[in-house]
């Protein structure tokens, strides 16, 4: 295709041809491409999507970049970069207390983003969305506020064997401090949680269940509906770590009836240093503040401070204003493409990557759950993951090697590390083949 606008015109034609009663997801962010709004796209046009991500055009060590480290962090579309640029070039001031125009404009952009996030996860109210640094801070906030208040001596917190360190350590710290016990839902050899064991772990001592929606190391999509239903039947609230889920599948917090949900901006095509915690208003209202400082108070004297209302009670200090606005742009971008379409396309990538790697003798895929997000973790007999990672890097392929901040997951499978290819909707089926070729080549090299 010669130009983006031509490609769009072409797609527009195709769109009208295929509008035979199908529900076609809306797609594309017109401002990015600086062309008139296009409402529908018949197929997932990855070439057009890639136009929105300037970094993907780069060559790495002389080879076209194949970026398969999206589980660690995702690349940013032009709209996000532009939104941040626009803020700092024309609309920046501190928020909430200013009486001048710039502060009012910036406050509006910041608060509008809260509403964008509210709609994105279908929260009932925007005050249930708290901006913070990311998933790690979201979990720490709940552990240090809800946890400190509600988890006492002899009580229990349940996590799963699939967690990454940030959904283990905050709870461990809490349990140590309050003399409570951390219990772990085990998993089977495919990387699926054993739900019968979860049922056995739930007891009147359980005060909170905190599990990942999608495993970062293996890609397993956990049966969160069942987990929530079972926990709620015992009156136990549930926190879902959505770091690996929110960018890849549709999340509806009301439908899930989840109590806390948290994810990071940088994994959903937004900037780093910004993320959200969703909490049911009734729970958040009964929790003590997380940090003290400006903005989280309504009045301060040396004798007594009264705290601000939700969500500000949990947002002490000047927040990451530019990052928040950038996150809003990222969420709008993702929504315009549509998470259903993204999820369906990423499943194709997962299928192809799994097929390509399975065909190579000596390659073992770790994590073979029935329901997986587009993450493939693998090991190769006799070749250390670090050597695989370096060899793939020399071919321009960015993967992650190591324990993926999930050492207990590695221990469960008796391996020190894996190679992880984690996909995003801007990856192509062709790139999955390039990965396969790279692996075949390095296997020959080390044999």
């Amino acid at each position: 295709m010669s130009t983006t606008s031509e490609a769009l015109e072409q797609s527009k034609d195709e769109a009208t041809k295929t509008q035979a009663g199908h529900q076609i997801p809306p797609v594309l962010n017109a401002p990015v491409l600086n062309i008139p709004v296009l409402n529908v796209l018949p197929v997932f046009d990855v070439d057009m999507i890639r136009e929105d991500f300037p970094i993907l055009k780069q060559k790495i060590r002389g080879k076209p970049l194949v970026y398969l480290d999206n589980g660690a962090s995702t690349q940013k579309p032009k709209v996000v970069i532009e939104a941040i640029r626009h803020t700092y070039l024309t609309e920046y001031a501190n928020i909430h207390r200013g009486v001048h125009l710039l502060s009012e404009l910036c406050t509006k952009a910041y608060e509008d983003t809260r509403v964008v996030l509210q709609h994105f996860i279908h929260a009932k109210e925007s005050r249930e969305i708290i901006f913070l640094r990311g998933t790690t801070e979201g979990i720490n906030l709940v552990a240090q506020t809800f946890g400190r208040r509600n988890v006492g001596k002899g009580d229990e917190v349940i996590v799963s064997a699939l967690e990454h360190h940030s959904n283990i350590v905050p709870w461990q710290m809490l349990c140590e401090e309050n003399e409570a016990k951390l219990r772990v839902i085990p998993m089977d050899d495919s990387g699926e949680l054993i739900m019968e064991e979860f049922e056995k772990l739930l007891s009147p001592r359980t005060k909170i269940v905190a599990v990942g929606h999608v495993s970062n190391a293996l890609g397993t999509v956990n049966p969160v509906r069942d987990i929530i239903r079972m926990a709620h039947s015992q009156g136990v609230p549930v926190l879902l770590d959505g770091a690996q889920a929110a960018p890849h599948l549709k999340v509806d917090v009301q439908e899930l009836d989840v109590d806390f949900y948290t994810f990071s901006g940088h994994k959903i095509y937004g900037p780093s240093g910004i993320g959200i915690l969703y909490g049911k208003a009734a729970l958040l209202e009964n929790m003590p503040p997380y940090q003290g400082g400006g903005d989280m108070i309504s009045s301060v004297t040396f004798e007594k401070t009264t705290y601000n209302a939700l969500p500000y009670k949990f947002e002490a200090g000047t927040p990451n204003i530019g990052g928040t606005i950038g996150l809003g742009a990222a969420i709008e971008y993702v929504q315009k493409i549509g998470l259903d379409l993204i999820a369906a396309y990423e499943q194709q990538l997962l299928k192809r990557a799994t097929e390509v790697l399975s065909e190579i003798p000596g390659v073992r895929i770790v994590g073979t759950a029935k329901d997986k997000a587009a993450i493939v973790s693998f090991v190769i007999d006799g070749i250390h993951p670090h050597d695989i990672g370096t060899m793939l890097d020399l071919d321009g392929i960015a993967v992650r090697t190591g324990h993926h901040c999930a050492q207990p997951v590695m221990d469960r499978f008796g391996i020190p590390a894996t190679v992880r290819a984690s996909m995003a909707f801007y990856n192509t089926l062709g790139e999955m083949d390039v990965l396969g070729q790279g692996v075949t080549k390095l296997k020959e090299f080390f044999s």
């Binding site: 060590r61 002389g62 070749i383 250390h384 993951p385 670090h386 050597d387 370096t390 060899m391 020399l394 090697t401 190591g402 324990h403 050492q407 590695m410 391996i415 020190p416 590390a417 090299f445 080390f446």
Partner: protein
Amino acid sequence: MSTVGSLYQEVILDHTRKPRNFRILSEANHKAEGYNPLCGDKVTVYIKLDGDRISDISFQGSGCAISTASASILTETLKGKTEAEAEALFERFHDLVTKGEASLGASPGRPELGKLAVFSGVSEFPARVKCATLSWHTLKAALSESGGIAAVSTE
């Protein structure tokens, strides 16, 4: 530009496939265990020290190609060397894997790298420096330990 060959030189691959002095040294009087928690690499270095001279040295463990070859070449290089010579070589080797070819210029008074020069490509891959130096850090811990078992971690 970095190429496969600049990092994984033939000598390195040879030592990865057939590590030298890969055994437990029963008469060792110094020993240390090294661990890189990031990738799970583990190495144990055994040294038989006669006075201040390394009369025998061996290693065991598991790791990537770079860390295995580094440990193997370390044992080959240091057999017969004094403690002071070993420490001077570590300094030289550390410069090599962090600064690369630039550190290879004339350096009067510094020990010859010999076979260790095959690790010059490591400097182009900063994430792999720890792989190359794990056995050296372990060696240093072993030498400073008399009798007991020292443990080092790269983190």
